[in-house]
Assembly symmetry: C2
Amino acid sequence: MTEVEVKKAPESLQDRLGQVIDLLQRQRVVEDLTHRQEGHHHDLVENLVHRQNLVELQRKLDDLHPADIAYILEALPLDDRLTVWQLVRSERDGDILLEVSDAVRQTLIADMDDHELLAAAKEMDADELADLAPELPRDVVHELMETLDGQQRERVRSALSYDEEQVGALMDFEMVTIREDVSLEVVLRYLRRLKELPGHTDKLFVVDHDGILKGVLPIKRLLVNDPEKQVADVMATDPVSFHPDEDAYDAAQAFERYDLVSAPVVDKSDRLIGRLTIDEMVDLIREESESEVLNMAGLREEEDIFASVWRSLRNRWAWLAINLVTAFLASRVIGLFEGSIEKLVALAALMPIVAGIGGNSGNQTITMIVRAMALDQVSPGNTARLMRKELAVSLINGLVWGGVIGVVAFWLYGSWSLGLVMTAAMTLNLLLAALMGVLIPMTLVRLGRDPAMGASVMITAVTDSGGFFIFLGLATLFLL
Amino acid sequence: MTEVEVKKAPESLQDRLGQVIDLLQRQRVVEDLTHRQEGHHHDLVENLVHRQNLVELQRKLDDLHPADIAYILEALPLDDRLTVWQLVRSERDGDILLEVSDAVRQTLIADMDDHELLAAAKEMDADELADLAPELPRDVVHELMETLDGQQRERVRSALSYDEEQVGALMDFEMVTIREDVSLEVVLRYLRRLKELPGHTDKLFVVDHDGILKGVLPIKRLLVNDPEKQVADVMATDPVSFHPDEDAYDAAQAFERYDLVSAPVVDKSDRLIGRLTIDEMVDLIREESESEVLNMAGLREEEDIFASVWRSLRNRWAWLAINLVTAFLASRVIGLFEGSIEKLVALAALMPIVAGIGGNSGNQTITMIVRAMALDQVSPGNTARLMRKELAVSLINGLVWGGVIGVVAFWLYGSWSLGLVMTAAMTLNLLLAALMGVLIPMTLVRLGRDPAMGASVMITAVTDSGGFFIFLGLATLFLL
């Protein structure tokens, strides 16, 4: 996508969404009226108002940046979303499709016929096509591939051959390449002959006649150095570069760490095959953080907020079902001690405190660890230390807050021994929470899974069953 | 910070951390030996090994990018961290201090004397100084300000006058400005006279003699257009710009949306006063997502994983204490029904299932909503729809999973009415979870708070107390 000038200040985005919603609501009122008074002489007037509203809305949309329209589409329920989508000029369809989330994109594509899809896709670069292709109908993809030249088709195929999470799937092919044995003056003249430079061009790629990457020439250096100098004398010879099969998130972290704007992608023999740009990396960083949040809560994938009820159900059922099993297990643990509860009903009232605080504390620990793992800060060399620290924090929390709640238990039920059991159970359950808060994400990683995956559901399962068992077990041993 | 060439591929970052930890461990073994054999003739030999290790470690560190050293410092426990810190060449101290997180920075600064701090700070730009100043000892800041010229001092003061979350605190002052009535040729010659261009210079700022921003000249346009052309004919006249008192996170979203690399910051009369760059925005996007995760789990602020136990305790106590109160309330709800539990002890075993599933489902809803709010997708116009959808999802989940667990309850305890109460209680608690999952973050925002703040703790509190009340209440009404 080429750089577009944006008229409004960014803070008015919510306002703009508000305006669109307003227009849509007016629209709906008019449609309601038209419907009710069908056949009446009002028809003509209503139709006029109807059309005026649509024209106003369309004018508003024409003024907006594709990214802003994408944002508005995301925030609208399905029917309104499609109304707006039909008002967008078709030549902008492609840009907008590339901006919206996967979930919303599916709803938009479902609303387009093959002809519209082909028109939207025709303007796209190879990497953008590859982005979109998996969601397009098979015959549209086939027809699209026919219209491409050999190199483009090869590029789309190559991009499609990589996993979504690999560098190869995110790279684009808009590299400006130069030779090392020319002067900067020649480079400047060469650039002037190009109609325009690709977005995010902060460096030119220096390759030899086999396409092997020899270095990069930052635009900054091109501009401040004497035009008489040779590229070879000015270029950076050892730039950060990536391989197409590398993990894209690692690349994003490297962009963040080294403050990169673009970087070359090379194959095993150092041949330049593409480039990565910061805009893709920013999207990735955001998506990664989001999926961390969602995963911890046991949501499988991105779900747009106006997803259908059925879609939402599918997204949430897996972990709810797991939770049902773990809750059932916790219930069976209590079942083991029904005899004790019958004798001392206070146990039933106090047991959720032990389980609840354990769950909260365990969630704190697991959140810390998952975050540290996402930042690559946990290594075998420091695991033991980390564990000791978490256990120490839990021990103190257990003694302090367990002590408080022990006193409260004494005050409520008048039994010192009940209070002591409460304090001991709290402390033990917090230690269990710390232990599992460290071990669960580490085990998930060792199994090749995402450490955030359902972390919250799992730690709560452990602290519930564990908490009930510890508390009721101690009570049965010492109080009955 | 100027661009530095990085030798190693980014994937070896964990390896490098491993190497440093190895060297540190060898170091520690040697220190142990030296300590135990003090006064022996081994001393000399040990000292030699000791020094060799340190030299090797220092050489390794000298090869690394400041961002990589920062990463290693983050991942090391305090004592190792300080060992490494002392080995870093003092001229790199400044760059590294700017890269590490606030929590780690405090530990490093605490280890430096005034002289070292002054030396590290001398190399910094005004915006970097302002970043660091709040954590420096007061007399160091005072001495630093003395050494600055008038303009620099003014800039540091200005940056310090803004809140951490405002654009003014994140902008830098490295703008290259040009006039609109000169030719591109003149601009190119002007740039060549500069030693180097600031990082992330993808556009030059066009200002009049009063410093009023007239437009921006993207470097891309400078390079492809005829050098004879005037700046005024080529520049973009209506660029995205920001005000210093705007919310920095809104600016970061604009950078993401419009794929910006840099953008001007102007005051109320459109005078250019600074610029924002994508690297700061990326850091902000990451921090914002992180604080969302941490806040939901009830962690107050960033806590580095090797923070002292005491620091960790302070970070976690606030929400644990709140959780203690809510758990106590839930316990009191059960206390109300002790008579019922005494009569039918199965209630004690079944009640955590109702509460647990409610908590899980509520966490899913609240996570979705908090995320949508962070992306500005929730507006008064769509709240009602959102609520209806969440309630529909919960109703179906309640009937389906509640039905399953109702059958299980019948199978365990042989009572159809108990099973029915179970199903009804599950459904009602899931509806409550959906309702509060939407209302809690919305209320927090209306109160001017972060919607993620302790969201998980609060929703769990509601679904626990609510679940116990609904289940035990229904049971008391219909079973006893």
